[in-house]
Subunit: 156 residues, 2 copies
């Protein structure tokens, strides 16, 4: 799907949508993420927001990052955990997650099933920032956050 394609109905089948490309999550040689795909469900010049679907395979995770723009997330499939700031939360289907500006965040499929989520963002937005080694050390100072980053969250 390209921006401005106003096909009125796209059938869903197992979390793939007709005419919507499944995209590699990001182009990067570093192992900053694992087993995650992206589908852009709505991106149109007349919309000020975009709606994307990300799916993390069991054991996979999104990039640990932050940015000026907010994320508004709804868990569409499965369960897992997220980190938002220094908060680790167990996520279930249909839960909502708000990621405020400049807040470190990551999503992990920690429960042996995919974690699929919708993410609404502003169409005009800044690029993500990656953590420095010092940032990671600071995050790891909290035992709960450190466990999450080892893919072994303590909650749930």
């Amino acid at each position: 799907m390209t921006g401005g394609d106003r096909t009125i109905h796209r059938k869903a089948r197992n979390y793939r949508w007709e005419g919507v490309d499944e995209l590699p999550y990001k182009e990067d040689d570093r192992a900053l993420f694992k087993s995650i795909t992206r589908q852009v469900l709505f991106a149109d010049p007349q919309l000020n927001g975009e709606l994307r679907y990300f799916e993390v395979a069991p054991g996979g995770f999104s990039t640990l990052e932050r940015h000026e723009h907010m994320h508004a997330v709804l868990i569409l499939r499965g369960s897992g955990h997220c980190l938002v700031g220094r908060e680790v939360r167990r996520l279930n289907t249909n839960d909502l997650v708000t990621v405020p500006a400049l807040t470190w965040h990551q999503f992990r499929a920690t429960h042996g099933e995919p974690l699929g989520f919708l993410c609404m963002v502003n169409a005009a937005r800044d690029k993500p920032q990656l953590p420095s080694a010092e940032d990671v050390t600071k995050l790891q100072a909290d035992p709960e956050v450190a466990a999450f980053l080892r893919n072994a969250p303590k909650t749930g």
Copy 2:
């Protein structure tokens, strides 16, 4: 939930979300809609879009209307039908619907189960327009549209 409340996690339970009010759909004395509720999942001054959840009880329907702003819809629960322009479509869970500018549209829970859908819109948007009697007559000229408006769609 009020705009700008950045609670990071809201648990879902049976399509209700913690801290999110279930709102009457619209204030109107005319019977233009039936058995529909609204929850505003994300509305924040830093977001250029809003994400709302509407749920139509079995046999219910949303207002037949049009407006300049677009709707970007994902069916979150159940099944039903929609009208977009002169197209009647059978909808299943996770299907996407795009409602272009100034296009008559309506959602109906036609299958004995609730029809729940997410709707992304621009935060800044115009008010809906209602059809005149003449508009309705024009729509009813198409037998498939007429059947949909009688809550008896022919498709699916």
